[in-house]
Subunit: 499 residues, 2 copies
């Protein structure tokens, strides 16, 4: 990651002319908004953490994550979330050492994987602490063990996803986990945030792949997972998964792997989002279930066609990715689907990791662009879909040009599915406040409709309030109790996850 | 349940002559051990709990569970685990009221579902409490909602499994959850203990079916589950599942249901347990995966044939239950399997819930009979299998006739499987001490081999020590912290799950 921009500068996107036209004509975007040079506050002095780097470059590189709010703040020149230094341990014991030193000196510790958080997961609270240290896990970078009999692989937490795939592919295996953050995210980050990949229908969510976990906590080491499943009490793996560094630092993850197989993508068109929803629900409940199954609403289908990202005309585009031997064509046709051949699938596959680059270009051009997501049960899905869309349109269109709000179903289950929204609007004078208002409206709509505040982005700082509502006061007190037990000095990612 | 015997007296088993001969000839069983009349201690006085029954009949009916140790103690005439009375609330709010009153008067509360625990899960500690009340959940007996769109059903916790199936079957659905305790166990009990059914390969474990939970805790109500899956923090459903009443009383469970489909059973013979293990692993990892998949070792196959429970000859018998359209024959044959047709499958299906009745007859006859189970990853399975078998043979054969120790793989996963042992020996003078020694040897062997102390029976009182080793000191302190938050008066099932 470069500073306040996604990924590799060499892969930066230039806006297609169709997009530029759309920004001006439809959204009233007025002009470019170049990023200011960032200014770092002087660092607080830090004690001798393993692998400590207090250079301005290291501090900037670890300043905040990749939410639009993070980027807008960074682009304004302010760097409120820069750590005072970066510790880079290379072993589990050194991670324990970081926690020990931090507890002793009351330094807030912010674990960093690929730094792809889009929910403020790297923006820990500074108030009440003598300093903030970023705990960079890139030094824990080994494949510890590949067990071909059990089909499990044990990775250290800092292994980047592409490296993990490369190591597994060499032995004929795959993890099959391809979230949009794939090119930069790490195995430990996937675990800590309950990541979900684009092929989740075929491979499951990351939390469903994890059979073992090792974590460094403020109370010592936690080693979990003696069997695929167990009735030995609550599943404590599931308490660490999604804990976002608030209970401990995941240092090692054992995941189920599968033989490498090719996926074939095709596009399908449905007359309406409702019709498509019935079709994908049917596949999720009665099969045959593709490994990748996505359904765009009318707005997303139209915008993708207008901007050249797909050539699907009207209706709703579905992307269907199948292993050889799985053919859901009959079922899709039965529900009103029209086959569009391989082209839309190939186009989607080619662009599947490109959206965050496009966002940077949109922000440069003076547009506001962000995504958010939720999940709920099938019977509530249409209501939630409309409520969130209406909330976004209402909040962003208030007194200005209406925004573009697009949505797709990105992950399906037998009992429900996720909804993933993309929003583009003209930036106002204060785009941070503008997006916060829209995000609040959307979060309130999600919460009121009974859906979960996040299906795969995590809680971080941005979803805390709704998360507290979602699990209720008893749930919150349980989490506080767990934190007290695992982080007695309260130095682990303060302000993240828990209110 | 009748007192200290399994199930319905009308279904009691008379030992087949082949079994009687085997007991005498092979095990040296010397003669019948009739049960003594139980003697109840006078009850401690209880405050006015909802639906309170302090009759001796009610107290006896709620005295302990169905482990062989529980039964042996009860058959000796001692009833150390009888509650002082039985509260029978009929609503969630009444359960909260039971917990409030219990906290005020320091009464231990033991939640009761179908009372089928085989791990001492109903034998709460009495020391330090003014009394013990059984919390009978049979009054929470409604199907709250069937959502045919999302394919979920919400049951109150006390609904017995057969009633749940009946209600679902009437609408064309099934839960597909058929553990050996099926005829008596309840939905709430399945959740609290992470039950696993005989068709788990097809339908998943119970904990995998649960999408929503409501629990009454000492700190108030916990309502969990807004979506099939979520990235909103740790999955707190998975903290309640397996909590065995120590953190709260599950009062309502929302489960995924599926359309009712027929299963067809066949038998297969493998030349060795090792060959069969490779075959079932292949099906678990590469498919086609049957819904029911079990593999007996040589001893179990031989004993079942000798006692007329199956007519498979030598080798190892596998029972394979498939939905129409799934045919694993080619794969089974590829791994050395010989088809035995439908007869072994039909015999297994007919006897699938009968083993606990047979145990009562064996105990009457002077034999010791019990089961235990574990799970681990495939690469460790052969070593664990042998270590536990050897530990049982060593402990029970020490100074007497060698026991019969049989084993089968009962549940398979991509990354591992469970091992289920059945042990039959001649009762010594002190069969409780005799079994405790064998159980200790087996538990130590399981723990030392790195496997989990229980795949589906739960922790209860009997597995506490190994469980503590399994999750380590940090894990134990996490559980204590959760208990402090949810059970501040420490009245919920004291001595169960947690050391």
């Amino acid at each position: 990651m470069t500073t306040f921009r996604w990924g590799d500068p060499a892969d930066a996107v230039t806006l297609p002319s169709a997009v530029r036209d759309l920004l001006t004509a439809a959204l009233g975007v007025t002009g470019p908004r170049p990023a200011a040079e960032p200014t770092l506050a002087p660092p607080a002095p830090l004690p001798g953490f393993p692998g400590l780097d207090v250079s301005p470059e290291a501090r900037l590189r670890h300043a905040g994550g990749m939410s639009t709010e993070d980027l807008l703040i960074g682009r304004s020149g302010a760097v409120p979330d820069a750590p005072d230094g970066v510790a880079r341990p290379t072993t589990h014991d050194e991670v324990l050492e970081v926690l020990r030193i931090a507890g002793e000196h009351r330094i807030a510790v912010v674990p960093h994987g690929g730094r792809t958080s889009v929910v403020g997961g790297l923006r820990a609270a500074r108030e009440g602490y003598a300093g903030v240290v970023a705990l960079d896990l890139s030094g824990l970078d080994r494949l510890v063990r590949l067990d071909e009999t059990s089909r499990t692989a044990t990775f250290e937490a800092g292994v980047p996803a592409p490296r993990a795939e490369e190591l597994l592919n060499a032995e004929g295996f795959t993890l099959g986990h391809f979230p949009q953050s794939f090119e930069f995210a790490t195995i430990g980050g996937f675990a800590a945030t309950r990541s979900s990949g684009q092929a989740s229908a075929g491979f499951g969510r990351f939390d469903q792949m994890v059979v073992g976990l090792r974590a460094a906590t403020g109370a010592g080491t936690l080693d979990l997972g003696r069997a695929p499943q167990s009735a030995a009490g609550p599943d404590l793996r599931q308490l660490l998964l999604g804990s976002e560094g608030a209970f401990g630092v995941v240092t090692e993850v054992t995941v189920r792997v599968r033989p490498l197989r090719e996926l074939h993508y095709t596009g399908w068109s449905f007359p309406s989002f409702e019709a498509g929803m019935r079709a994908v629900r049917s596949l999720a409940q009665d099969g045959p279930l593709p490994a990748v199954l996505r359904l765009s609403d009318e707005a997303e289908t139209m915008i993708n066609a207008a901007t050249g990202a797909s050539d699907a005309g009207g209706g709703c585009l579905a992307i269907v990715g199948c292993f050889e031997g799985t053919d859901p064509s009959d079922r899709l046709a039965e529900y009103g689907g029209e086959p569009l051949g391989e082209a839309p699938g190939k186009a989607w596959e080619a662009g599947r990791f490109r959206a965050p680059y496009l966002r940077d270009a949109l922000l440069d051009a003076g547009a506001l662009a962000e995504t958010l997501e939720t999940a709920t049960f099938w019977d509530r899905l249409p209501e939630t879909y409309a409520a969130v869309r209406d909330a976004l349109v209402g909040a962003l269109g208030d007194g200005g040009t209406p925004p573009i709000v697009m949505c797709h179903i990105s992950h399906v289950y037998e009992t429900g599915a996720s909804l993933y929204y993309t929003v583009v609007a003209a930036q106002s004078e204060d785009p941070v406040a503008q997006w916060r208002a829209a995000k609040t409206a959307a979060g309130d709509a999600i919460s009121a409709s009974g859906a979960t505040i996040t299906h795969h982005h995590g809680v971080g700082r941005d979803h805390r309030a709704w998360y507290a509502t979602e699990i209720g006061p008893v749930g919150v007190s349980v989490l506080h109790a767990v934190k007290q037990a695992t982080d007695p000095h309260h130095v682990l990612n303060p302000g993240i996850l828990l209110p």
